[in-house]
Amino acid sequence: MTATSAFFERLTAGGPDPRFNKVRGSVRFDIRDGDRVEQWLLTIDHGDLRVRRAADPAGTVIRVSAQVADGMARGEVNGLAAITRGEILVDGDLALALRVGRLFPSASDPGGPPTTKNTS
């Protein structure tokens, strides 16, 4: 399984996300690997996130290469920077795309809040 598939599988199993409580919309990821295009449809309905493989029309479409998608799933890609340099193509609601971008991990995440230094 690719990092991308694993990421979407995790999303499917993750249940509702309170960060999307006020969001309603659909985002389709078109992931190109050579001649093959893998499509994932993410629908958001007030915190309820559903992901499935589908080619249905969506309000926002995000086009990436499989390589960039795997990088995102591993937390190695800064989404906004990748949009600015033309590696991620967003058509539709850019604000929603950026919000969805928050679901992706960060590879340089040290994990949890900072450890406290003792100054005394």
Binding site: R19, K22, T84, R85, G86, L89, L98, S108, N118, T119
Partner: protein, 686 residues
């Protein structure tokens, strides 16, 4: 209209052109001269010649921010100009640039003219200019069509392109375009040049297309500015300088509005020309706080975009944390390729508490509880960030120590230059650091967050908790930061928890936040208005006789109008009306020396010594929070503040002003007027 100045700027949001007085652009490696959009220079050369001669400006009209007219003649700046030929360059900026060129022959002979426009584009990122870097990784390209010159830059999938076209027949070449004309005596000739800037995706879709659709076009821009001014309250005063500053500030705030790509057309204030033409968390929040009485429409989109880009995870390059509000957002090459961490960068410790402060202050003015409901989650996350992620030592304060050692900011408070935080003897403290004003913002954010929780979110338990935390912070802060022998608050605590004992303007912000016990306020005020801090124009960032004091030190002795406006607000909060008035009088007097446009900062020299405010060499202008400063100072003189469903007015005019009225102040009360008049008998507040 004014006589030939050094450089001439023309701007609209984050698109701007800076040229010399004749309208020419000749980029130098480190000067921010050229045509810019999205943090990229799209024209680095734009030079007009007639028969091989450069032109000299006779006069320049830059009275409108988006339009400049240059009246030029061929030849150098000599005593006598043989002006048979003259020209007018009228330049207007919107999402793109248009320039109308008209050439006159007022001589008595037919003239054959070779008119050339030299064009080059280096596509430098604003940070390459700032740090004087030259080696570009990608490739430049030139495409010449019969009616168009296209210059481009490509680095992988990153592509930026500029296109130049003209309304009259021209010959296009790699170095620009030329027109061959023959003018009879008394004849004139015109052409309209169009410069389009594109940020192209691999599928040739322009990222700036949406922007172009959203921004007012060339033809509707003047109307949109008139509308902006008409929406704002009218200032009626006997002070001509005050009127000038108010009108200039209002128009400059219009000039700095820009529509970030991710906001669907709503506009937020860019921080300042030329280095800060983008979204900054701190600058935009403070600008909104300053301008609620005048231009409240800036606030909802600012809060919304900061909320939409709020930190969601931990990232040591971007210095992102869950709940953290961003510092800076950029679209240039260095951000795109992550050579700079600006996509977005989160290295600020004050934007998160200020986000909550603005949300509350906005609701007090507008009664817009819907926005408070909409942003509840983000406000709670920002409050949680204070305790969970910013308290690096477990001592109950907001601390900072950069995690991005390569390109992160050492100081993450508003004084963010490397040497801005020092002990009185000039030494630099260790990390982490906790600056005093940030603790004040945190205290205020908790108090205000509690009000929102109780009155809008229906969560009294959370409100109680925030109030308990605020009370504990108040006690702790007044124990650890107060230097009783000096009578002021330490600038910061260092990594060991030792007070950083400099006397600085930061203590003025503490009054605004309300974290100073009333019995201590007089001693703080004595320092703020004493000769070491108060220059006569305003409060210096750092007091005289401190180790690093320098009247031209960016954060170590200059006077910042925005800083002073918050100090004046704080002084009024504690009842020091006369002192607040002295600051307002000083800053407005200084503004008259800058044609009504307050710069980012000016020199900290004593007013009685220099008699005029000394220009700070690289100060940004216009600067959003300097324009906002005049609005906040008017607010403090009028003593206006929302009180439940009405606007309370408690004027206190300094003697320099006889009468100030602000008419049609918008808010939850509809629109109301506020008046202040000098009492002739006492020459005191009226």
């Amino acid at each position: 209209m004014r006589d030939v100045p050094g450089t001439v700027s023309c701007l609209d949001g984050n698109t701007f052109i800076v040229s010399d007085a004749s309208g020419d652009v000749e980029s130098s490696s480190s000067a921010p001269v050229g045509l810019f959009a999205a943090d990229t220079r799209f024209l680095s050369r734009w030079v007009l010649t007639i028969n091989g001669e450069r032109l000299t400006a006779l006069s320049v009209d830059d009275s409108k921010y988006y339009e400049v007219t240059f009246f030029v003649v061929p030849g150098g700046a000599v005593d006598y100009v043989q002006a048979d030929v003259s020209a007018i360059r009228r330049r207007r900026i919107g999402p793109d640039l248009t320039e109308s060129l008209t050439i006159f022959n007022y001589g008595d002979k037919d003239l054959d003219l070779d008119v050339r426009l030299e064009v080059a584009a280096d596509f430098a990122d604003i940070f390459e200019i700032k740090f004087d870097l030259h080696d570009k990784v990608g490739c430049h390209y030139t495409e010449i069509e019969p009616t168009e010159l296209r210059l481009g830059y490509r680095r992988g999938t990153f592509r930026r392109e500029v296109s130049v076209t003209a309304s009259e027949p021209a010959t296009f070449g790699p170095q620009g375009l030329r027109f061959a004309l023959r003018l009879r005596p008394g004849e004139q000739w015109s052409t309209r040049l169009h410069v389009v800037m594109r940020a192209l995706r691999p599928d040739d879709v322009d990222l700036r297309l949406a922007l172009r659709a959203q921004r007012p076009s060339d033809s509707t821009l003047p109307e949109s500015v008139r509308e902006w001014v008409a929406q704002a309250p009218e200032l009626d005063t006997d002070s001509v300088p005050l009127q000038q500053v108010y009108e200039r500030s209002l128009v400059d705030l219009a000039a700095l509005r820009f529509a970030p790509l991710s906001l669907g057309g709503a506009t937020v204030p860019a921080a300042g020309l030329p280095w800060f033409m983008t979204l900054f968390g701190r600058d935009s929040l403070l600008t909104c706080l300053q301008t609620l009485a005048v231009t409240p429409s800036l606030t909802p989109p600012t809060l919304r975009i900061l909320a939409s880009l709020q930190g969601a995870r931990r990232d040591d390059v971007l210095e992102e944390d869950p709940g953290r509000i961003l510092h800076e957002l950029r679209y240039g090459e260095s951000a795109a390729f992550e050579e700079q961490p600006h996509s977005p960068y989160y290295g600020t410790v004050d934007a998160s508490p200020l986000f909550v402060v603005l949300l509350d202050e906005y609701e007090r003015w507008s009664g817009d509880t819907a926005l408070v409901v909409e942003l509840e989650q983000e406000a709670r996350a920002a409050l949680e960030w204070i305790d969970r992620y910013a308290d690096l030592t477990g001592t109950g304060y907001i601390w900072y120590e950069r995690r991005n050692r390569a390109t992160g900011l050492e100081n993450q408070c508003w004084k963010d230059s490397w040497d801005s935080i020092s002990y009185a003897d000039g030494r630099l403290p260790g990390f982490p650091r906790a600056t005093c004003e940030t603790q004040g913002y945190a205290y205020d954010a908790k108090i205000r967050g509690a009000r929102l929780a109780r009155t809008v979110w229906g969560d009294p338990d959370y409100a109680d908790r925030l109030e308990r935390e605020a009370a504990a912070l108040y006690d702790r802060f007044n124990r650890d930061f107060w230097l009783d022998d000096r009578g002021y608050y330490a600038l910061a605590l260092d990594g060991d928890g030792t007070p950083v004992d400099s006397l600085s303007s930061n203590i003025g912000h503490l009054l605004w936040s309300g974290i100073v016990p009333p019995e201590r306020a007089p001693r703080v005020v004595e320092h703020l208005m004493g000769p070491a801090l108060f220059s006569g124009w305003g409060v210096r960032t750092l007091a005289e006789r401190q180790g690093r004091y320098n009247p031209l030190g960016y954060h170590n002795g200059t006077v910042w109008p925005f800083d002073n406006s918050f100090i004046a607000w704080g002084l009024r909060r504690y009842g020091f009306s006369a002192e607040a008035g002295r600051i307002a009088e000083g800053i407005f007097s200084a503004a008259t020396y800058f044609q009504g446009r307050l710069p980012e900062a000016f020199g900290g020299y004593d007013r009685h010594t220099t008699r005029y405010p000394v220009r700070y060499p690289t100060a940004g202008s216009p600067q959003a929070w300097s324009s906002g400063a005049s609005m906040l100072l008017i607010r403090t003189m009028l003593g206006i503040s929302p009180h439940e469903d009405h606007l309370a007015v408690d004027p206190a005019l300094p003697s320099a002003f006889g009468r100030i009225a602000l008419l049609d102040i918008p808010g939850r009360w509809g629109r109301v007027d506020a008046f202040a008049r000098q009492r002739p008998d006492t020459q005191r507040s009226g």
